[in-house]
Amino acid sequence: MSFAKKYLLLILLTFILFVLDIASGSVFIPVNRILACFTNHANVTDTIIVLGFRLPKAIAAICAGSALAVSGMLMQTFFKNPLAGPYVLGVNSVSSLSVALFMLGSGGVASSFLHTLGIPLASSLGAMAGLLLIMFIAKKIQNQTHILLIGMMIGFIAGAWQSVLEYLSSSMRLKNFVIWNMASLSNVTDNDLLIFCSIVVICFVACLFLIKPLNALLLGDEQAYLLGINISVLKNVVLILTALLSGVTTAYCGPVGFVGLALPHLVRIFFKTTHHLHQLLGNILAGACFLLLCDVLSNLPIFDVTLPVNVVTSLFGAPFVLWLILKNKNTLA
């Protein structure tokens, strides 16, 4: 199958899942009534559910899925480690801790504007801090398995401090934080989407300028340097983009696991290339497809209630990671 056909297939799949995500939900709305919502001929309740609830949720799924997949791809190239990802390396956990510090410790900071901006900012700064820490350790330790283990330890430490903060906080603040920490696509409103989509799109455009340097980085730092790549500038840009992508997603949707780890591998297998142009575009489309699919599954009537999207991504992601480890047990050892 040619690249063009593969892209076409992914675009088609994204479109179908997008429509399916809008059409499905716990309340049954026939297709004609859903279409009527877009032509101002629907009843108020249908319009609220479709345009105010399902549409922002589906767009959030596209943004979050593609952002996390691209973030995972950047980390795997950056750390030259197939198991690198924001969740595994503890970046999500440090990001959550940072939000916990903001939400549970901000006291009287109740200004709506500051609160809206504060959480994405705290989350991105936390993600950046987590990445800097991992980068610093990666300089000292070359062993990939050790870096992964250290990333997991950082995740545990951040999780433990988060628990301490939760214990010490008041019930009201704790409730808000627990809700955020549950990871949900449905909490994203159209106002949030404007900021969320803007940041994600800007990061993707920036990534397009990094295709050549990232391809060079696959050859190793020395080879990339000989090809005229400024390694330190590249690493800093990749760091900022990764932190922004995973940070802003964590801020609006909560900590969503496994997308960043599993999707880049699926894309590599599907496109059968490590070229970063195909990797980037493939991860954008595949990430969107994956999270849309997870959202559709989380709303299946058999579950009676809406499952947290984090649970569904883990149900799919965890078996994949197990398979990956078993398949590559010799190379990972």
């Binding site: 939900g25 105010g52 609830f53 609160h115 009201m172 409103t189």
Partner: protein, 377 residues
Amino acid sequence: MKKNISVFSIVLLFLISCNNEQQKKEATVSLTHIKQNNYATYFKIYKEADFAALVTYVNKDKTDSLVYVLYSNEKPKLNSNAYYIKTPLKSAAVLDAFFIGALNNLNCLNYITAIDNSDYVYNPIIKKKCAENKVQQLSKSGVLNIEQTLVCKPEALFINPSGDTKKDFDPRLLKATITPVVCADYYENNPLGRVEWVKALALFFNVEQRADSLFSSIEKKYVQLQSITDTCTNKPTVFTELKTGDVWFVPGGKSTTAQLLKNAGADFIFKDNDKTASVSLNMEQVISKATNADYWINLHYCNIKTDIIKQDKRYAVFNAYKKGNLYNNNALIDETGGNAYWESGLNHPDELLADLIKIFHPALLSQHTLKYYKQLK
């Protein structure tokens, strides 16, 4: 209505739980005088000449129960696995706000020596005692601190069932003669049934008469108020709560909240189910049914109208929000989050009912001033 019926002779089988397994045998104890409850279904009281027995059901299906034998003079020789407690208690730990309200109504607040967490307590006397370290806090982190409990050494520990009786009866507590008293008051689906638990609690402090007259007075007022709305033909529609994460927990159709709303002459949108516990819905399901509802009550921690849309601006689509018909049960709340609704409120369903009638049918109780509820503006 108070009934003391001594008609039935009910024989309870108590299994002997001797330390020596080989000596296990069954003993029967005849308890003849049952004190009939008017509404409560999760406890039974048996009054004998020299002791009382309290049977509490600790699970929803009433398949698991505990027996407490309460005596004031000589310990009755029943040779059973009941828990024996000498009354009146001089010290009690209460790990739920409802018990504080009940003991306050019984004038037994002085016997409270420990609570769970003072942050969630509204009663100023208990709060002050906590600050002075005269009342201990045993569950600040949400989990009972066994060491602190052993040091505090209350004679009884009033708790709600956790669902695991073994966990509720920690052997270290029993060894220190601290008896957990498991009260499933929140399983009751009638507000008067829940407040009737005051009769069970009164047994531990020998204030049964006070409990009986208190309950009768509350019941009388409640029934009177209920009769006011009986003839109402206009029943405004109402829904409750906010979503938590993706889940919107609404009270079951047979819950105390649903009962209160019905008695207050309101039409609870989610009444059509036979659940006594909460029902999990999502926002789509609530929007599809409650968009045009007239009233929206029990709005968690919200103090003003804008607090609601700060959580999710889509809450503004509800008609009740647009009309400003928003009422929260946090009119009496202190700076740490202690809410009188969960203490004195649940122990005075008559006052809660009066508040709700005032909200839904203001003309019927024009002189009444809201106590536990406030309108969010």
